[in-house]
Symmetry: none
Subunit: 135 residues, 2 copies
């Protein structure tokens, strides 16, 4: 838990709860998570599972993803471009295909544009075992 964005999930939950002006017991009732456990989580004594975080998010009416990001189990997606989001969301691609496309896309973006076009082509020529070749 070292980066600027991923911090104490407990502090974050307490902050959100206090914003909502909800007591621990009210949140416990709303979430189905026990009041003492919520207290322990907020004070950093316990580390809740993703399922518990999901319940807490629902009780606080915030997104579970926000809690996952704070807990360090999910990366932030704000930096996604449309292409990355589209690739991830495309149900017609296998997970591995998605990863391949994302890797290529990112290497293209790192080359920053049109001047790198020949190199990009060269990179692709090392990649296409996909095209017709079989082992």
């Amino acid at each position: 838990m070292a980066t600027s964005k991923v911090g104490s999930i407990g502090e974050y939950i307490r902050e959100q709860r206090q914003r909502a002006k909800v007591s621990l017991r009210q949140l416990a009732d709303a979430t189905g998570v026990s009041n003492p456990y919520l207290s322990q989580i907020e004070r950093g004594l316990r580390k809740p599972s993703a399922e518990i975080l999901q319940q807490i998010a629902k009780g606080l009416r915030i997104s579970a993803e926000a809690l996952y990001v704070q807990a360090g189990i999910l990366d932030e997606r704000e930096s996604d471009t449309d292409v990355q989001a589209a690739i991830r969301a495309d149900v017609g691609l296998s997970e591995r295909q998605k990863q391949v496309l994302l890797d290529i896309y990112e290497s293209f973006r790192n080359e920053t544009g049109s001047a790198a076009a020949p190199d990009a082509e060269a990179v692709i020529r090392t990649t296409p075992p996909t095209e017709g070749t079989s082992t």
Copy 2:
């Protein structure tokens, strides 16, 4: 991939692992998760935490989010975004890069899943399993 099938994270992990042609021990080495525990997870005997899923995703070179979705701790993102449109609209890519990505994307879609295995294999072979594997 099945869009609405949330469940049996173990079967999903085994499927991805077998696609990658990786043994449990190799995956254990790649992930830092113990070989017996991976076996138990695959057979549905244990329910792994998000941290373990994260490690497994990394070892299999797939996104953690995909595993979270399968495990039911993350909702699928909206799948309406068009990959091709996004690629074309991305101002950070040259026209040539766009064409290359589109070509690869289309070949992936034409392969529709099972034929993606050879390419998947190639990707995994870039991640060499360590020799002398032993738990």
